[in-house]
């Protein structure tokens, strides 16, 4: 692996998370506050790995009821029908709109699962001190952070279907319990991505270089 450039932490500098000002704290372990914006300075996010694991495991648990429980319950003239997220995708597909079916499938099923797997992979490689594929892992993290919000799609779909289709007694739609779990998956994975410190990906390589140098 080619040598990495000097990091701020190695140079005894701290980059403020709020205003990006680079400052030289008196004590490295307790850097205190940013002189410009007053935010608490940290070399790396506190307990980043533990927090990310906690959010990630919680998200993985919620992922099961989110997909198994119905998200919408439609009542048409006394007949009741429940739809899960996959049910909604299949409905869109069979009613002739495969592009929308694909969008919902990607946003609601593949992105949350992909995020859980990707963050798990990033956490495990960071914990094992891996120095391989750092550029790819940085890109994966960027993608996870960038794309995560789109999973909220199904929640909005459900909300507006519920809001509009209230034509009692002809037809009415109620939200199912799956929506809450699904929302929990989206929020927990977003929090997991936010608590993960991407700089940890590069730190193991720096530690190796320091040890060998």
């Amino acid at each position: 692996m080619n040598a990495l450039g000097l990091s701020a932490a190695q140079a005894g500098l701290v980059c403020c998370r709020t205003c990006n000002l680079l400052s030289r704290p008196a004590q490295r372990d307790t850097p205190g506050y940013c002189p410009r914006c007053g935010a608490t300075l940290v070399l790396r996010k506190h307990n980043s790995i533990q927090y990310t694991w906690a959010f990630l495991i919680a998200a993985a648990i919620c992922y099961i009821p989110a997909n198994a429980l119905p998200v919408l319950t439609t009542t048409t003239l006394g007949e009741t029908e429940s739809d899960t997220i996959m049910g909604g995708v299949i409905f869109l597909y069979t009613s002739g709109s495969w592009p929308l079916a694909l969008i919902v499938l990607i946003a609601s099923v593949m992105i949350p699962l992909g995020k859980i797997l990707a963050l798990g992979y990033l956490l495990i490689t960071v914990q094992r001190g891996s120095v391989a594929n750092m550029h790819d892992r940085a890109r994966i993290y960027y993608l996870v952070e960038f794309i995560g919000r789109w999973s909220m799609l199904d929640v909005f779909v459900d909300a507006f279907v519920v809001a509009l289709v209230q034509l009692e007694p002809l037809m009415s739609v109620e939200p199912g319990s799956g929506v809450v779990f699904f929302m929990a998956v989206v929020i927990l994975t977003m929090l997991a991505a936010q608590t993960f410190d991407a700089r940890l990906i590069w730190d193991s390589a720096r530690r190796v270089e320091v040890a060998h140098g």
Binding site: L4, G5, S7, A8, A9, A11, L13, C15, T18, C19, N20, L21, L22, C34, P35, R36, C37, G38, A39, G88, F91, L92, L100, I103, H135, A138, R139, Y142, W150, M152, L153, D154, V155, F156, V157, D158, A159, F160, V161, V162, A163, L164, V165, Q166, L167, L170, M171, E174, P175, V179, V180, M183, I187, M190, Q194, A198, R199, I201, W202, D203
Partner: protein, 215 residues
Amino acid sequence: METIACPDCDLLQHIPRIPSGGKVRCAQCGETLFIERANALNRTLALTVAAALAFIIANTMPLMGLSAAGREASTTIIGGAREMWLQGSEITAVIVAFCAVIAPGGHILFLLVVLLAVRRPPAPRWVGEMLRSAHLMQPWSMTEVMMLGILVALFKIAQLATVLPGIGMYAAGAFIFLLSAVLVTFDPHEVWKRVEWADGTRPPGVAETDSGAAR
């Protein structure tokens, strides 16, 4: 020449003077660090005002109307959340309201106040706090996701009833474009240069104007 650390990989790097429009990427991880722009704050302010107006229209006018079997219904953005609440899904209602109304509204409002406040530097310290709040709101502001959600919802409903897009829908569309323009032109670095330092000192170089301020 200025030294900064990449927020995503902590690489220390010297940034040379770059021409307006130039984009600076981290030498190690490739993350965009900033884009140099002349007169950036004025342009951002103009776009932010426009975005705020579009946001107000998007939230006060009906988003879409629906008619089926002689019955009519229409909804606003907050109406979607309200109906969720009435149907017994309070948590969903709160999250939908937060991601579709409160977070984008708060984000644009905080940005507007920040941009107005830094027009006469040095800006007081609370401006920095407000910018931080705006950054906190940003990931939870999901208007564009909501629009795609509405599109899918419309398609689902279209088989049952006739759906008419309302003024709110067009305004929400305009808001999405204006907000992305705001985010592309906004340079937080310029704001921080004009805010009073937490340790009591004045920001260096406050006398400089927007254009051509040395980075």
